[in-house]
């Protein structure tokens, strides 16, 4: 991937979703918050079903577990909201991501950044920017802009009531 060329290493934030560890570019992360009151948006896209108050701003809360077709479990004491900046149609938008657990900010060696393998991944390869090796683990680095791209935002239920509420919070 073009952006990574000439970069020796990448700083990432690692977190866990349903027992799987993955990483976000650390530069995109604004802050990490404890879980606060989540307001449900009826009729909104299933994985973007909530709104939270981040320092006086109303910020959409995304549950990537639903996006990646994982099971959704009730929040625990480790649940955090990772506030990140996403590029949406050329505009920076602040979004909160629900994480089962947040680990650390770490450097990954550029040499081990490999292109996405087509097999052996439990989530869709187009959301993964690359795979890095950290300690003994393989960690997927998310292409976060891609996750929120228009075509993948999920069908908006058009305000209808048929979708049963996902127990996001």
């Amino acid at each position: 991937m073009a952006i990574w060329q000439g970069k020796r290493s990448l700083e990432v934030l690692t977190l866990t979703l349903q027992g799987e560890k993955f990483a976000l570019e650390a530069g995109r992360v604004q802050e990490i918050l404890d879980l606060v009151n989540v307001t449900e948006v009826p009729g909104g896209p299933a994985f973007l079903n909530g709104l939270v108050n981040v320092r006086g701003k109303v910020v959409p809360l995304a549950d990537l577990r639903l996006k990646f077709e994982m099971a959704s479990t009730p929040p625990t004491i480790d649940t955090r909201i990772v506030v990140i900046n996403v590029l949406l149609d050329g505009e920076t938008t602040t979004v909160g991501l629900l994480a089962d657990k947040v680990h650390e900010v770490t450097e990954m060696n550029a040499e081990v950044l490999e292109d996405t393998p087509r097999l052996g991944m439990r989530w869709r390869p187009e959301f993964i920017r690359c795979i890095g090796k950290h300690g003994g683990d393989f960690i997927a680095v998310l292409d976060i802009d891609r996750v929120f791209e228009e075509g993948d935002r999920g069908t908006v239920a058009g305000g209808t009531s048929s979708v049963p509420a996902q127990d996001a919070a």
Binding site: N37, P42, G43, L51, V58, G158
Partner: protein
């Protein structure tokens, strides 16, 4: 002030304002070409654009403007008569200048040449050619016919003149260029050394000048500084001195006696040129300020909750004090965002002028209530819909002159724009005295398109709403839009986005009145806080008609007819619990909040009506743009987010669930 930004941006911004003023002045001038003050204003505006243009490296702008300015210099000197045609050319020139400034790469030099050619043809052999005299050098070029006379010129600049870039020495030099001059400085006003600020100008000048030029040539020297300075020009030969002219007098008052009847627009233009004691702030900063104030109000309401539960009387009184201050601050901040609608109406004069020429119709445009204030964002977003509606009125409402006289009306069509306040709304109406809407044709088209049931009984205002339906074909319809690609449905959508509504009243043969109703501001609304399941939602109070209890009979027929009998009217209602998938058991007594939009009512069934809530509106991100049920969100006193219901959307849903139109 923008502070630190690119200086050329400052120039662009200033030029844009100057060009807007210039447009207004030229339009006035087209109407009353004999008004000398307007000619002077035009000349000054052009001169400023030229001067600052060349200063900031916009050489094409400066070059082009110079020719137009030269032409107006000739007019000003009375060598060429001012005509409406000349004003028209100047308007085209003004458009070209704007192009040169805003999109220099796309501005076509040929357009400029064509305008200059027309200008040349109109001004004739008076040399509007490139070699035309610059205004400040005007004197020496004029023909030496007048006998020499002696003048005493006394002038004194405002103390801050140096800071605004005026150089008194240049003025003195210009006077000396007029003829033999004796210059004496007036040092009487210089303060003692310890009080002297070196950047201030305390010196006055007394100059005796012997010249063959008329007095106006002397006045020309001070053309650009005259408004603020003290200036006395008297003939030394004449036994009776001419009345002194002081700072308060309008600049060209003596040069042009007619100026006593100065037209209002010219005056305001001059005032605006001086800045009028106001400062310019980027709109973005105002938005930030409004955000901060919104947060303050939210934090304050949390404080109030805690104070209410506290026993500490001192704490309570501080909380009350802060509440008062926060609310005052909010009102002041909102006031800052309000701008008079005159700004918007002003732009339409040009539109009407151009359309009248283009369509060969005679049109007068009148306006009222220009001082009505509206949120800046609302004003900006109203521009396109209003352009569209005015265009429509002129294109399809007003008949050609022959038809009008045949119908016993004046040949000149009339468009009236008005704005006024009613409660927390602003009403803007566009009235024409044209032929009115053709009900039969609208109905036929609507029935053909399946927008209304054949033979359905409906009021005029309901029928006219059909025009705003996206499916209402514009091709042969009464409100044909000349294929400009923007339909009335876009107008309607913009109005919806602004939380406004639109009404049409029309009398066949007499004309049409289109009224837009808009909220005063987009930033804050009064809302009714309700609870549905566990979620709290805000309903805009302006849409709420009443709150009633849901009769148990209706309650039990959850899947039966969803109609409520309110004093004989059948009102459809929506069970928001079902729409929002509330999981908790319903409250024992369900409430119905009756809301209305466009004269249609719908009941919203909720668990609990919590109460009045002042709401700072936060828009939803693009990620939720597709959710039509909500117009935005707000933050409640305890820090949770609550969604604001979009009434127009809910009412439309409620009406759809009506099996057929019921006569009420």
């Amino acid at each position: 002030m923008t502070g630190g930004g690119d200086p050329t941006d400052t120039f662009r911004q200033e030029a844009q304002e100057l060009l807007e003023q210039l447009e207004q002045i030229l339009l006035d001038l087209a109407r009353s070409p004999e008004n000398a003050e307007l000619v002077d204003s035009t000349f000054r505006a052009l001169h400023t654009i030229k001067g600052s243009g060349s200063m900031f490296g916009f050489d094409a702008v400066a070059g082009f403007t110079h020719h137009v300015e030269s032409a107006f210099d000739l007019v000003r000197k009375g060598k060429v008569a001012m005509t409406a045609a000349l004003a028209d050319i100047a308007l085209a020139g003004k458009d070209h200048i704007r192009n040169l400034i805003e999109r220099p790469e796309s501005a076509d030099p040929a357009t400029g040449q064509a305008i200059l050619a027309r200008l040349e043809a109109t001004v004739g052999g008076h040399g509007a050619a490139p070699a035309g005299p610059k205004p400040t050098e005007a004197g020496p070029v004029a023909a030496p016919t007048a006998p020499t006379s002696k003048w005493r010129v006394q002038f004194r600049l405002p103390v801050d003149a140096l800071a605004t870039g005026t150089n008194p020495l240049l003025l003195v030099d210009e006077l000396r260029a007029l003829g033999k001059a004796v210059v004496t400085p007036l040092l009487d006003k210089i303060p003692p050394l310890e009080a002297l600020n070196a950047t201030e100008c305390h010196i006055g000048w007394d100059i005796e000048v012997e010249t063959d030029k008329p007095k106006s040539a002397i006045e020309d020297v001070f053309l650009f500084v005259m408004d603020e300075m003290e200036l006395k020009i008297e003939p030394l030969d004449a036994p009776v001195p001419v009345a002194a002219q002081t700072a308060a007098a309008p600049a060209p008052a003596q040069a042009a006696p007619k100026a006593a009847t100065a037209a209002q627009p010219a005056k305001t233009a001059t005032e605006a040129l001086k800045g009028g004691g106001s400062i310019r702030v980027p709109a973005e900063r105002l938005d930030n300020l409004m955000d901060r104030v919104g947060e303050l109000v939210i934090a304050q309401s949390r404080l109030k909750q805690i104070a209410a539960a506290s026993q500490d009387s001192e704490f309570k009184s501080i909380s009350e004090e802060i509440e008062r201050l926060a609310l005052e601050l909010r009102d002041t901040t909102m006031g800052v965002r309000m701008v008079p609608i005159a700004q918007l109406f002003g732009r339409f004069r040009r539109l009407v002028h151009d359309l009248a020429v283009e369509l060969g119709k005679e049109i007068t445009l009148t306006t009222s209530g220009e001082e009505t204030e509206l949120d800046k964002t609302v004003i900006e977003r109203l521009n396109d819909p209003l352009v569209h509606l005015i265009r429509n009125s002129i294109d399809h409402g007003l008949e050609p002159p022959e038809q009008r006289t045949a119908a016993g009306k004046t040949a000149q069509g009339h468009i009236h724009l008005s704005a006024r306040h009613t409660g927390d709304k602003v009403l803007i109406s566009i009235t024409d005295d044209g032929k009115g809407l053709d009900r039969a044709r609208i109905r036929t088209r609507a029935e053909e398109n399946g927008l209304i049931a054949p033979g359905a009984e409906m009021s005029d205002s309901e029928l006219f709403q059909v025009i705003f339906q996206p499916g209402f074909s514009t091709a042969q319809a009464v409100t044909n839009l000349s294929g400009r690609g923007v339909g009335m449905d876009v107008v309607k959508r913009t109005l919806d986005a602004l939380r406004g509504s639109i009404d049409i009243a029309s009398t066949t043969g007499k004309g049409t009145e289109i009224t837009l109703r808009l909220p005063l501001t987009l930033a804050i609304i009064d809302g009714l806080l309700v609870r549905i399941g566990q979620g709290r939602y805000v309903i805009p109070l302006s849409a709420v008609e009443e709150c009633v209890e849901l009769p148990p009979v209706q309650e039990n027929r959850a899947n039966g007819s969803n109609f409520l009998n309110i004093r004989g009217d059948l009102v459809p209602f929506l069970r928001l619990r079902e729409m929002f998938n509330a999981m908790t058991p319903p409250d024992k007594y369900q409430k119905v909040v009756v809301v209305s939009s466009n004269d249609m009512r719908v009941g919203l069934v909720v668990d609990q009506v919590i109460g009045d809530h002042q709401t700072v509106i936060k828009s939803l991100s693009k990620l939720h743009a597709g959710v039509g049920t909500f117009s935005g969100a707000t933050i409640l006193g305890d820090g949770t987010v609550a969604l604001i219901l979009e009434i127009a959307h809910l009412v439309a849903r409620g009406q759809r669930e009506r099996p057929m139109k019921l006569a009420s």
